[in-house]
């Protein structure tokens, strides 16, 4: 059924369509215009709508005023002819003689426009292994047509997942990781500050996935959760660089940490915290100021959340078993997904955990690439999922020094390590880092500053989609990437429904205890 007629447009701009009075269309809908004069088929996407009239605006205002103020008894004749809706549509593709081309020409005046038919989606030539949702048309979605993302290209080129609270950021990450689990070429590390990835206590998570044996879960509550591993780190394993760019340190303090590491080796943190300041000052022959040591003692003690010699995660004592870093390296080699539950840990402590893990991982991959290139070639690509990303990639944070997250954003591609930064405030992330995030999954951003930050850093022109981005409902996304032909409107699968569809076995009743 026709929904409208072309009334103007430009190749660099958009097509303007007068809509039929009963046309049921929404922003985001895909339309087709078959130009009977040129035999070209134009694939269009509605990016904005407005109401219009052949009557002057001033007069319309007067009519409304007469009704409001004087309850004028009127009767609009020919309402469909004179009061109507218009829509602006972006050209996506042109089909000419059976082949698809970029939109470099225009449909003629008064050509009919209709909604796309289900058998016409071949113009979206998707290449990808991970199904993340259905292609979305405005408010509806096409059940038969799934949005696929090419994991290999996406991971090492980094991803940004942005949305306001409750719009489905974590759901997307779980859906994407579910897709990764099915493939045997990838690994992922998820830093989970809200304990929403693994599942439990009636909440479905990745542990309910049929391939849950490919998941390694670290938690400080390891004794309460069956199958989980202890999230415990000895300070003997920490390096000064694990703290750099993570907690607020002056250059003098950073130099002091380096000196201590060189002198005390693995015991550097233990000695810093345990030894009295006079002894330390003497040990370093006054090269480190008393005040510097006092500040370091205080900062590191608090950052590690120690209560005496140990805290929930960190301990001053050596490991009683295998190091968490080695376990993670092995799990990555086995293409597993590692989830690290940081929900009970403070912000700085969580950042030190993630920083230390990623430093080891990055060095590991870099060493292999430099020294064992054949083995490196067989190593999987790793996706690092980090929530509330501005904590480590914010412009303000990075102005104080480089950290491992920034390094991965800049160099990770060379070493098969990719970031999946999740945030609701992308405007806080440095513009340079934002532009490194080649794939952007946008799930609704009402704040103009955040919307502009994402639009300005996107690898495709999505400025036309600004209205749609503002109005995206829960689970609705626009995905932009240099690896897809145009921004894909998508209704992301609900993770719980995805589990049901996959005929997931029901997990035993959770034994987690608060």
């Amino acid at each position: 059924m026709n929904v409208g007629k072309v009334i103007s447009g430009s190749v660099g701009g958009n097509i303007l369509i007068r809509l039929k009075s009963n046309a049921n269309v929404n922003v985001g809908d895909l339309l087709v215009c078959e130009d009977t004069k040129t035999n070209e088929k134009f694939f269009l996407k509605i990016i904005n709508m407005n109401i219009s009239s052949s009557i002057d605006q001033q007069f319309i205002e007067e009519i409304a005023g007469q009704k409001l103020e004087h309850d004028m008894d009127y009767d609009i004749i020919d309402p469909k002819d004179r009061f109507y809706k218009m829509c602006e549509a972006k050209m996506l593709k042109i089909k000419r003689e059976g082949k698809f081309f970029p939109p470099r020409s225009l449909p003629n005046f008064f050509m009919d426009v209709r909604k796309i038919n289900e058998d016409e989606f071949d113009f979206i030539n998707q290449e990808g292994e991970i199904e993340i949702g259905h292609l979305r048309l405005g408010r509806d979605f096409v059940k038969g047509l799934k949005t696929k993302l090419p994991a290999k290209k996406l991971i090492s080129h980094h991803m940004l997942v942005v949305a306001a609270t409750g719009k489905g950021k974590s759901n997307f990450a779980k859906v994407f990781i579910s897709g990764l689990l099915k493939l045997d070429e990838y690994s992922a590390i998820v830093f989970d500050p809200h304990n929403e990835y693994y599942g439990g206590q009636g909440v479905k998570g990745l542990r309910d996935h049929p391939l849950h044996e490919k998941i390694l879960f670290f938690s400080p509550r390891y004794q309460e959760i069956m199958g989980s591993e202890k999230l415990g780190i000895s300070t003997t394993e920490l390096e000064p660089e694990d703290f750099f760019g993570i907690i607020d340190l002056s250059s003098t303090q950073q130099e002091a940490m380096d000196l201590m590491k060189r002198k005390y080796k693995e015991e550097w943190i233990k000695n810093l915290l345990k030894m009295d300041i006079n002894t330390l000052v003497n040990d370093f022959e006054n090269k480190i100021q008393r005040a510097t040591l006092a500040a370091l003692k205080r900062k590191i003690y608090h950052a590690l959340e120690l209560y005496g010699d140990s805290g929930l995660v960190f301990t001053l004592e050596p490991n009683d078993g295998k190091s968490i870093y080695d376990k993670i390296k092995n799990a990555i080699q086995e293409r597993k997904v590692i989830i690290i539950d940081t929900s009970m840990i403070g912000d700085e402590s969580e950042k030190i955990i993630s920083s230390s893990i990623l430093n080891r991982l990055f060095q590991h991959f870099r060493r292999y690439k430099q020294k064992k290139p054949a083995e490196f070639a067989n190593m999987p690509e790793v996706l690092v999922v980090f929530e509330e990303a501005p904590r480590v990639l914010g412009a303000e944070v990075l102005s104080k020094g480089i950290n491992i997250f920034e390094r991965i954003a800049r160099e990770g591609r060379k070493f098969k390590v990719g970031l999946c930064a999740i945030t609701q405030m992308p405007s806080l992330i440095s513009p340079e880092i934002l532009s490194q995030m080649n794939t952007k999954v946008i799930l609704g951003l009402p704040a103009p500053a955040d919307r502009n930050a994402v639009i300005n850093s996107a690898s495709q022109n999505i400025s036309d989609e600004s209205v749609e981005i503002q109005m995206l409902d829960k689970g609705e996304a626009i995905i932009t990437s240099p690896f897809i032909q145009f921004p894909l409107p998508t209704k992301i699968f609900k993770f719980e429904e995805l589990l049901k569809e996959n005929n997931i076995k029901k997990h035993d009743v959770s034994i987690a205890i608060d």
Binding site: M72, Y74, I77
Partner: protein
């Protein structure tokens, strides 16, 4: 000086001479019925002026409504050439149409209007015969006396004894005596002054057949005069005016087409056109129009 003019004219506004009888004002109600309502209007204009010859375009529009829904809309287009030669005046229509024009008295530029008027009358007569139960609205036609045709004149130079506009004086009086009502005022048999909507600022001179049921006809027209685009003016006439009007851009377009076809067959018509263009040229040059 302008104050002097106002003071001079004040006497006609203050005149005690009464030629309006307040008792002749009658109010009426709008009537919503299933009767079809048609409206006919035309537009014309010279699209090429070669001094002694002109080419004009004439558009005659017809719209039809039933219960406020449009049932008919059509515009017929005619071209007309008038050649004033030493041997006399020759008029030709494209497509051909049989109308008699007064060729001797009219200025050449008045002829398209007269032709339009005549073609409108032909259309009105055809409609009247074809739809005897329908009401047919004509725009400003003064000499049609058919039972189902009502002619509405948007403007009028009808006057009072003192020299004021009859419509102006009636409008002013009705504001005092019949505020918030639709009214009509009989001038003579088949000639009325009417306000079709209580909130309308305008009243119109209306001509109809004396055998017409006036309240029925006016009630139906009033029902079609409730559209807010011009409240108080019958919407079918507004609509037909829109579709039949020959706008300036359309005149320019037709002028270009005419000259293009002329050039194609080797005619140098622009030399003749220059014999009439100087005023326009000066306006454009001097006032950047």
């Amino acid at each position: 000086m302008i104050e002097e003019v106002v003071k001079y004219l004040a006497k006609i506004y203050k005149s005690k001479e009464k030629d309006i009888d307040i008792s002749k004002f009658e109010s009426f109600d709008s009537i919503n019925n299933k009767k079809e309502v048609f409206a006919v209007d035309g537009g014309s204009g010279i699209i090429f002026d070669g001094g002694s010859l002109i080419v004009a375009k004439i558009k005659i529009g017809v719209v039809g409504y039933k219960e406020k829904n449009k049932i008919f809309e059509k515009v017929d287009e005619y071209f007309m050439s008038v050649i004033d030669s030493k041997n006399g005046r020759i008029i030709k229509f494209f497509p051909d149409i049989n109308i008699a024009l007064n060729l001797t008295k009219k200025e050449i530029e008045d002829l398209p209007n007269e032709a339009r008027d005549n073609i409108e009358k032909i259309k009105i007569n055809e409609l009247s015969k074809k739809y005897p139960d329908a009401l047919i609205l004509a725009d400003g036609q003064r000499d049609i006396n058919l039972k189902n045709v009502v002619s509405i004149c948007k403007t009028s130079r009808a006057k009072t004894k003192s020299g004021r506009s009859l419509l102006g004086q009636l409008n002013e009086m009705s504001d005092k005596k019949l505020k918030g009502k639709k009214w009509f005022y009989k001038i003579s048999d088949g000639e009325y002054i009417i306000k079709f909507h209580e909130l309308s600022k305008f009243c119109y001179r209306v001509l109809l057949n004396e055998n017409t049921n006036i309240k029925q006809a006016l009630g139906l027209i009033a029902d079609y005069s409730r559209d807010p685009e011009i409240i108080g003016y019958p919407y079918p006439l507004l609509k037909v005016d829109k579709i039949a009007r020959l706008r300036d851009d359309e005149k320019k377009f037709e002028n270009q087409r005419f000259k293009m076809f002329a050039k194609k067959i080797g005619l140098k018509v622009e030399y003749d056109e220059m014999s009439t263009l100087m005023h326009k040229y000066m306006d454009e040059r001097a006032y950047r129009r």
